[in-house]
C-alpha cells in the first residue's frame, strides 16, 4: 500500500458535560486493517469517545483526522459520509422491517418497485460476501440477537465504511456466535477496514485485537500491542492498581440442604428440572443463551407461574406464587437486566435500595427516612458505590454502580438463597472483583448462592458445583470444578 498515513487519528480530544469532565486529552490512532481494542472501566469515557466519532457529540477541543485530512463530524450524517460506522450495544434496527429494509433505511433509491428488487439483491450480495445465510424477508424482531448484529454489520458495510466501531458486540452472543463474529472481523480486517472494538471480556481482546488503548477517568492511560501485553498489565492499567487474582474463590463450609427444587417445568423453557443447594454453597448454572437458566430462576423466585414442580426450603414445602412470597421466605433474585427489571431508573438510588426493605424501617407504614439513609450509607461505604449523594437518580449511574445498588437492596434482606443472574455482565474488572469477594463473604456467612452466568471462566472460577442446561433441561453436573475445563462445559451445553 502506498498510503502510509494512518486511517484515523484523534488527538487531544476534550469533552465536558455540565459538571463532568468526560474526556481530557485523549489520543487514538487507527491504521488500515487494524483491530484496536478500546479498554477501560465503566465511566472511563469510552462511550463518549465513540459518540464524538459517531458525530453524536462535538468535542470541546482536539482534532479528528481521517486519511490525513482534518474532518468535522458535526452530525451523525457527517460521520457516515466520512466513512465511520458505529454498532451500538442497543441496536438501531426497526423491529417491524426486514433485514434489507433496515440496511437501506433512509437511503432508499427512487422508483419504488425497481429499487426494492435491487436493494434486496444488494443485501443478499453483502451477506454472501460475509459468507452468511440470512433470512432476508422476515421482520428483524424475529431474528436472533446474533443475526440482528450481522444486519447492523451489513448495514455499515453497505455504507462503504472505512472505520467500524463495535460497542460490546459479544455481550449477548454465545461462544460459537462470538467465533463467527471474529471470523467476520478478520475478513473486514483483510479488506483494509479499521475496527475499534470495545468489550469487557478480556479473553476476546487478546484473541482479536492488534492494539490495546486504555482509558481511565476520561484520560488516555496508554497503549500497547496486544502481543506484548499481559492480562495482568492490562487490568492494572484499567483499574490503576494491580488485581492479583481475577477469581478470588474461597470455598465456604457447606451445611444442610437449603433449597430443593423438584421437577420444575414451564412450557418448553424449563423441563423437569430438579436439583438441590446447600447452605454456604455457590452453585453455578450455565448453558447457551436460551437454555432456560433465567426462566428457571424466575420460577424459583415466583416471577412466573410454573406448570409443575415442588420447592422445599430448609426441608419444608414452600408455596411461592409471587416475588413477594419468595422475598418473604428469604429467596432473592438479582435479575440479569438491571435497567428494565432491577431498578426504577427515574427514582433515587436510596428509594431503589429501600423498595423491598421498607417494612424493616417503618412504623405503621410511615418510613423512618433517617434510618434508611443510615443503612444505605453503610452499603455505599462497604460496596464503594460511587454516588454524589443518596438522592441521585438510579438512571444516572454507570453499570457497575447500578449493579451495586441492586446488590445493596438485596443484601439488606439477609436472604437465605440469593440468585445472581449474570451478576457481572457489562461491569468493569474492578467492580467484578468486588462482587466475587462479596459472594465469598456471603457464602461464608451461610447464604446459598445460585450464580447464573454465560462467562465460563467466571463459572469455573467461582462455583463449588456447576449445572449445565440445554433446551430447558439439566444436561449435566460438574462436581469436581477444579479440574473441569471450558471445553468440557461447552460439550454438555451444546447437547
Amino acid at each position: 500500500m502506498l498510503n502510509t498515513l494512518p486511517l484515523l487519528q484523534m488527538q487531544g480530544i476534550e469533552k465536558s458535560f455540565p459538571g463532568v469532565r468526560a474526556l481530557s486529552g485523549v489520543n487514538l490512532t487507527l491504521q488500515r486493517g487494524e483491530v484496536l481494542a478500546l479498554m477501560g472501566e465503566n465511566g472511563a469515557g469510552k462511550s463518549t469517545l465513540i459518540k464524538t466519532l459517531a458525530g453524536a457529540h462535538q468535542p470541546d477541543a482536539g482534532t479528528i483526522t481521517i486519511d490525513g485530512k482534518v474532518v468535522s463530524l458535526s452530525s451523525p450524517t457527517a460521520a457516515i459520509e466520512a466513512g465511520i460506522g458505529v454498532i451500538y450495544q442497543e441496536f438501531n434496527l426497526i423491529p417491524e422491517l426486514n433485514a434489507w429494509e433496515n440496511i437501506f433505511l433512509g437511503r432508499e433509491q427512487s422508483g419504488f418497485f425497481v429499487a426494492r428488487t435491487q436493494e434486496r439483491k444488494r443485501a443478499a450480495e453483502l451477506f454472501g460476501q460475509l459468507g452468511l445465510e440470512m433470512p432476508l424477508d422476515v421482520p428483524c424482531r424475529q431474528l436472533s440477537i446474533a443475526q440482528q448484529q450481522l444486519v447492523e454489520i451489513a448495514k455499515a458495510l453497505s455504507q462503504d465504511v472505512g472505520i467500524l466501531v463495535m460497542d460490546e458486540p459479544s455481550a449477548a452472543l454465545t461462544p460459537q456466535e462470538v467465533e463467527r463474529l471474529f471470523a467476520i472481523i478478520r475478513d473486514l480486517q483483510a479488506r483494509g477496514i479499521g475496527v475499534i472494538y470495545i468489550s469487557h471480556r478480556l479473553d476476546e481482546i487478546f484473541e482479536i485485537a492488534d492494539t490495546i488503548v486504555v482509558l481511565r477517568d476520561g484520560q488516555y492511560v496508554g497503549e500497547a500491542s496486544a502481543r506484548d501485553m499481559t492480562r495482568e498489565q492490562m487490568i492494572e492499567m484499567m483499574v490503576g492498581r494491580s488485581i492479583e487474582d481475577e477469581f478470588p474463590k474461597q470455598a465456604a463450609q457447606q451445611g444442610d440442604f437449603r433449597l430443593e427444587v423438584l421437577g420444575f417445568s414451564r412450557g418448553n423453557a424449563v423441563r423437569d428440572v430438579s436439583f438441590n443447594l446447600r447452605s454456604g454453597e455457590v452453585l453455578g448454572i450455565t448453558g447457551l443463551v436460551g437454555a432456560g437458566r433465567t426462566e428457571l430462576a424466575r420460577l424459583i423466585f415466583g416471577a412466573d407461574a410454573r406448570d409443575g414442580g415442588t420447592l422445599l426450603l430448609d426441608g419444608k414445602p414452600l408455596n411461592v406464587r409471587s416475588p413477594q412470597d419468595a422475598i418473604f421466605a428469604g429467596i432473592c433474585l438479582l435479575t440479569e437486566d438491571r435497567k428494565s427489571q432491577g431498578l426504577v431508573l427515574c427514582r433515587s438510588v436510596r428509594e431503589n435500595f429501600g423498595l423491598p426493605n421498607l417494612k424493616q424501617f417503618s412504623v405503621c407504614g410511615a418510613i423512618r427516612e433517617q434510618r434508611e439513609r443510615q443503612l444505605f450509607g453503610e452499603y455505599v461505604d462497604s460496596l464503594t458505590i460511587r454516588i454524589p449523594h443518596q438522592d441521585q437518580l438510579a438512571g444516572h449511574l454507570s453499570g457497575g454502580n447500578q449493579q451495586k445498588v441492586v446488590l445493596a437492596k438485596w443484601l439488606q434482606q439477609n436472604a437465605k438463597v440469593l440468585i445472581f443472574d449474570e451478576p457481572t455482565r457489562g461491569i468493569d474488572v474492578g467492580a467484578k472483583h468486588e462482587i466475587y469477594q462479596l459472594m465469598n463473604r456471603l457464602a461464608a456467612g451461610g447464604t446459598s448462592i445460585i450464580m447464573i452466568s454465560s462467562e465460563l471462566p467466571e463459572v469455573l472460577g467461582m462455583s463449588d458445583r456447576i449445572l449445565v442446561m440445554h433446551e430447558g433441561r439439566l444436561k449435566g453436573e460438574i462436581t469436581d470444578v477444579k479440574s473441569a475445563t471450558q471445553e468440557q462445559i461447552m460439550e454438555i451445553a451444546i447437547g
Binding site: P18, V20, R21, G43, S340, L355, P388
Partner: protein, 449 residues
Amino acid sequence: MKPATSKTQQWTAFTNDYGMVLVLLVLVIAFSLLTLEQMDSTGADAGREVARLIADQYGDSAVVVVVTGQKDGDEEFAAAAVAELQQANVTAVSSISGSPPQAKKTVAAAVARHGRIDAIAATGDSAKWTVFDRVAGVGGEKCVSVEPRKWPKFAKAENILNVANQTAVYAIVAIGMTLVIITAGIDLSVGSLIALSAVTTATVIQMSGGGNAGTAAIVVSCVAGLLAAAAAGFFSGTMITAFRVPPFIVTLAVMLMARGLARRITDEESISDLPQQFRNIAGSTEWSVLGFEFGIPNPVILMIVLYIIAHLLMSKTIFGRYVYAVGGNAEAARLSGVGVKKITLIVYTLCGALAGLGGILQASKLSGDPKLGVMFELDVIAAVVVGGTSLMGGQGRIFGTLIGALIIAVIKNGMNLMKIGSPDQQIVLGAVVLIAVLIDTLKRRGAGS
C-alpha cells in the same frame, strides 16, 4: 470525573422544586399590575366599602344616613351601601341622593326619629358638604368616606378568596389524578364521577325529605355519593389490573357509563331542593358540626387539609413509595416484592373517591345536576401536568399539582377581570399546558445527556 459544581446543582434543584411557584408569583404580580385601576370614592365598590367600615365600627344598632350627590356613580354608591348595611343587619338606614339642602332635610329627619345619628355614609364629594354642621347633634366629622386611590382589582381579598374557592374542587379531584398519573395511568372518568356522586347524594337526600332532611340523612347521602364514585374507581382499577385493559380505554368507557347512569338516576332532571345544612358544606365558612369558624370557605379548608395528608402519604409512607415505583418501572417494582396490582387498584379507587368528594361539593354549591363536571377531567389533567407530574409516570409532586391548579385558576380569573373573552382564554390555557409539557420534556432531555 469531577463532581458537578454545587452552584448549578443547587440552581437546578431550586428550579425543580420552586419553578412553578415562581411562575405563580409572577402571574399574580402581573395580573395585579394589569388590573390596577382607579378606585373612586363613589360607585358601588366604594359604597360597599364605606358600609362595611360603618357596620364594623358601630354594630347593627347604628343609625346611618347615606348621602350622595347626583353625579355619575352616586346612585350606585347609595344603593350598594344600603344593601350592604342591610346585610349587616343595620336597620336604621335612610338614604338621599340629591342636593345639600335635601340632604340636610333627610339627616334632620333621621335625628328626629332616632334621637341621634352615628354615621353619614358619604362619597368623596358629599363628605365635603357643610350643611351637616347646621343640624343639631350632627357635624361634618360624622361623615365616613373613602379616599380615591389605585388598587388592583385582582389583589382584592374577596377576589383572592374567590379564586381559592373556585380552585378547591379542581384541586381536590386533581390529588387523585396525580396519583393515577404517577402510576403512569390516566383517569378520564373523574368528570362523570362528579356528576354520579352529586346525583346520588342529591337523590338520597330527596328520598329522605328533600329540603327538610336532617343531619343524619345528609351524612348518609354524602357517604352514598362517595361510595358510588369510589366503586366506579374500583371497577376501573379491576379492569386495568386483572384484564390489562389500557387505563385510557377503561376510564373512557367508565366516563360514558357513569355519565349515562347519572342522567338515568334523575331522569335528566337537576335536583335543587336541598336542605340549607347541605348547602352550607360548600357554601359557608363555618364547620357547623365541629363548631369552628375560620372565615375561609369550607372547600378551601378541605383542600388544604387534603393536600397536607396527600403530601405526607406520598412522601413519607410505604404506600407513596410503592406508587412511585409502580409508575417508574412496574416490573422492577413487582420483582422487588411490591404488590403492583394492589397498589394500582387502591390508586384508582382513591381517585374515584376524591372525584366523589368533588361531586358532593359541586352538588352543595349548585345542585344535583347530571350535567355537572363535563370536561372537568381535562382541566384536572391540565392542573396535574402544569404542576410538573410526568405523564410517563414515576415522577411528580402533590404540591406541584396544587400550584398547577392555582396557576390555571389565576390565569382564568385574571383574564376574566381583564374582560378577555372565553375563546381567547381557551387559546391561552391550551398554550400554558403545552409550555408546561415542553419544559418537562426539555428538563428530561437535559438530565438524560
